[in-house]
């Protein structure tokens, strides 16, 4: 006998688990090398228009010039200004590791001193009453031996008073 659709719900479970590698490009590699070795945050500079980029770029977003790791680098931060932010009350998958994020966590979009292009990273503060656009923050880095040459060498940005 033909089963009724309501009784026979057919679906197939599937999980895609696909490993990838990502080439950071030369300037980003140099950025992470400096962060790991010397605990410094650097911006690379467009050889044509002189615009600073942190995180660094391979091509200037303004004039399409090619940038390389050999061009001029400028130390920026570690202090900066929060432009905007969000605070999460809900956990999400960490997209690069597959682990769940601990809540609450907050992410700020920041301009580091000396860099005109915004960088995003975690803020230490997670109380919406205590975070305001325009707030001053400073990067907190892992100790040298624990730094691995990735963005998590910066633990978070803490609120500072000036």
């Amino acid at each position: 006998m033909k089963p009724k659709a309501q009784e026979e719900l057919i679906y197939l479970d599937m999980t895609l688990k696909m490993p990838f590698k990502w080439r950071t490009g030369e300037p980003m590699g140099e950025f992470f090398r400096e962060l790991k070795a010397n605990g410094k945050i650097y911006a690379n500079q467009c050889p044509k228009c002189g615009r600073n980029f942190c995180p660094p770029v391979n091509v200037c977003t303004r004039d399409h010039s090619r940038c390389s790791a050999k061009d001029k680098w400028v130390a920026v931060g570690p202090k900066g200004t929060v432009l905007t932010f969000f605070i999460s009350e809900q956990s999400f998958l960490i997209p690069t590791t597959g682990e769940m994020l601990k809540v609450p966590f907050s992410v700020g979009i920041m301009l580091l001193d000396g860099a005109p292009v915004a960088l995003q990273h975690n803020l230490e503060e997670t109380d919406p009453e205590k975070i305001k656009p325009g707030m001053r923050v400073e990067a907190v880095l892992k100790p040298k031996g624990e730094r691995k040459g990735n963005i998590f060498d910066i633990i978070h940005f803490k609120t500072i008073k000036e």
């Binding site: 990502w22 980003m28 977003t61 432009l83 905007t84 969000f86 009350e89 979009i109 292009v117 915004a118």
Partner: protein, 387 residues
């Protein structure tokens, strides 16, 4: 000089959060047959077929191959679009290119998504650079929450105004039988919802829906034979943005793709007062602050005026400038069809065929926008006449 292009057939499925007895092909088939019926055409009248969604959402790469049976694309030219939030508006624009070029007299375009089949946020997150941005990206909502904070900070808009826009959308969706979330909410109901990503609570985020929309585009000579109510695509524009912090519209100098799209369309069509010269706007609004803040960015009103117009009830169905009479993306969001629904609903308003959610003022020109990925904007201007 290009040929004139008209929308001559519109079809959509109902939208919902789950429909376990329906597969993706059946959804597409339903939208296609409804669009063909609306145009009073059969598949043999269709010369080219375009299909679009986000491959990764259903975990099915190049699904247009398998779906050609349902879409009606077998043996016909056309291609697949996969541009994120703008898939639907991009499809409409590609339909326009097919006809405007003179290569085809008819083109069927189909946008769809079935969000109940896979995880959306991990898929969206893969659009960003894994070395610096991806670890902090929580799908689409993270960027939208930061834009909301920035908007409140710049203009004095409060959470209450976003809640008003959401409550208004709920009243419109309640009148739209094809919408997904159709419960009516007051401003206070919206403010009481569970916080997800401050400042956006659950009701201030768009849902994940499933559904499909199909439209038939035709050349002028064909369109006039097919229907008494062709809707003309008068103009359209697509704008990309700089990747990185600037995509949030914050930084050195505030500039967004919506700002460039609005000014381009209005300048090119000599529109000086968009709230008068266009009568309705179907805006891709994936979060509750979208309508107040993006009215300003598109140039519908001045900076700081958007939330005041929301407060005055201007965006209501019977208001001075109705926005999203369909309920918008806040109430229905099957991403591959979200953008196309904006174009379809704007066209229905021009035809006067929007039924219960038809706006009270006469619609001669309408705007429809798409939004996706890294603040990629599509903006279309639709018109009742060819002048």
């Amino acid at each position: 000089m290009h040929n004139r292009v008209a929308i001559v057939g519109i079809g959509q499925t109902t939208h919902s959060g789950r429909r376990p007895y329906v597969n993706d092909g059946e959804l597409i088939y339903d939208a296609v047959t409804r669009a063909l019926a609306d145009a009073n055409l059969s598949l043999k009248d269709i010369e080219s077929v375009m299909l679009g969604n986000m491959d990764l959402f259903e975990g099915h790469h190049l699904n247009d191959a398998m779906l050609s049976l349902y879409s009606g694309a077998m043996g016909k030219p056309g291609f697949k679009m996969n541009t994120g939030g703008t898939v639907g508006t991009m499809l409409a624009i590609q339909g326009w290119y097919h006809i405007a070029s003179g290569m085809f007299d008819t083109c069927l375009v189909i946008g769809w998504e079935k969000h109940d089949e896979g995880p959306v946020t991990p898929a969206i997150t893969t659009i960003t650079d894994p070395s610096v941005d991806r670890p902090f990206m929580v799908g689409a909502i993270g960027g939208l929450a930061t834009v909301s904070i920035d908007y409140m900070n710049r203009t004095g808009c409060k959470l209450e105004h976003a809640a008003m826009a959401r409550a208004n959308a709920s009243l419109n969706a309640a009148r739209n039988p094809n919408a997904h979330l159709r419960d009516k909410y007051s401003m206070q109901d919206v403010l009481n919802a569970r916080m997800v990503l401050y400042p956006l609570n659950l009701l201030m985020c768009c849902p994940t829906s499933l559904g499909a929309c199909a439209m038939v585009f035709a050349s002028e000579s064909k369109a006039r034979k097919i229907t008494k109510k062709p809707v003309w695509i008068k103009d359209h524009v697509t704008v990309h943005v700089e990747y990185g912090g600037a995509q949030f519209g914050v930084g050195e100098k505030r500039w967004t793709s919506h700002m460039q799209a609005g000014s381009t369309i209005f300048k090119r069509n000599h529109i000086t007062n968009p709230r008068k010269e266009t009568q309705v706007f179907e805006m891709y609004d994936p979060f509750a602050f979208a309508i107040p803040s993006w009215m300003e960015d598109f140039g519908i009103c001045d900076t700081g005026e958007g939330w005041k117009l929301v407060e005055k009830g201007a965006i209501a169905l019977e208001g001075e400038y109705p926005i999203n009479p369909s309920g918008g993306v806040m109430c229905t969001n099957a991403i591959g069809d979200s953008g196309m629904l904006r174009v379809a609903e704007a066209a229905l308003q021009i035809r006067g065929d929007a039924g219960e959610h038809q706006v009270t003022r006469e619609v001669k020109q309408a705007l429809a926008s798409g939004f996706g990925g890294s603040y990629w904007t599509d903006l279309l201007l639709l018109s009742k006449t060819t002048d």
